[in-house]
Amino acid sequence: MPRWKTDATKIQFMRRLNMPPQIVRLVLLTIGIVAAYLVARYILTPSSFGQYGFYRGNALEEVAARSPVYAGKKSCDECHSEELQLLAKFEHKTLSCEACHGVGQAHVENPDVKFVKMTDHDCLRCHEASPSRPKWLRQITFKEHYKGQRCTDCHVPHQPNEVP
């Protein structure tokens, strides 16, 4: 409540409002509380809140800010399109380069970075026989299938149909 110079002006003010003083106090207090709430909400709510829904819209960008690790087949196609065209003619056409060769983003950024050398394990990961595997997949039991030889002694990974 404002400070009154004299009781006379106070009484005059209340008479002009034509309301009992306790009601005036309650109304002013309510307005004060609502205003304080609105100001606090303005300060505390993140600026992008409600952009897409009841959450911080900037969170989407923050999650998307991470940089990819796997480069993707398109990146490989920029330099190795011949290999990819050859691969597309054979059964391994559905494979991504990075499925066998490993993570490639570092190689895309600097071609001097080499991939890890592949082993028989990379073939067996998919082709080792298992009763759970679907029947359309060519499977072998490594221990019995031409024992002692490496997969690439006979098979060409990029042209798997060319089997001797």
């Binding site: 709510t45 959450y55 969170a59 923050e62 940089s67 690790v69 796997y70 398109k74 990961r125």
Partner: protein, 272 residues
Amino acid sequence: MKKPSTRRHVLGHLGGALAGLLTLPAARQAKAAVQKFFVSSQAPKGYDPTKHKWLMAIDIERCIGCGLCVEACKTENNVPRSSYYFRTWIERYVITKPKPGSGETRGEVMVDSPNGGMNGFSPNSVPRADNILKSFFVPKLCNLCEHSPCAQVCPVGATFDTPDGAVLVDPNYCIGCGFCIQACPYGCRFLNPQTKTAEKCTLCYHRITRGLKPACVEICPSEARIFGDLKNATADDPIQRFFESGKALTMLKPHLGTAPRVQYAGLDKEVR
């Protein structure tokens, strides 16, 4: 001497204060725009989440259980390598033949997922092949629910359904209470021991916003994972071909009312 307060003055001041409050939303929008302009972000430019609707589908017939997707997911998203934390994993179902004379059509159902299937599945840990009625692999991931229980229970609004179909966690607002982990009926969430925040499949949000496929879809050698944008699907889009293939589609736990969006083709009724 100060002017005496009249009803006119008081109402005038109140009106002014109200007008000031009404300009706050406009002021906040201007502030956000200015902030966006000056703060440079690693996020891809020009991606509008309202113009996409991403969906993943799984073709059980195509999954060969190699575990490359699990490994790719861990590498791509820096998920802890320990065998408790997965954003996606593969389960192996083995249904044995019924005992002779039992009158049942199926025997025992065995489910395992050693290290999430990341290193493949040993054929030695299941019954002999002539004893198996049916066996298959089920890749699991966030089911991208339409009514996500995880987003509902979050006490701080740190997890939410985005307009483009992903369910994301805001790592800056997550308090690590673990309610969402309890709420997810598919077990798709975990508490990252390093960041102490809840984590889950983001559909590789950082990849799809750059026009790349999610790491697991990129790496899947047998096209068991199908991914696409429902709002911008072309005729030869994998997700379009998948829906037009006429395969019977099912979802996981549809009776819970979470409206899971991830579609499974060729799913056995035993799969939960």
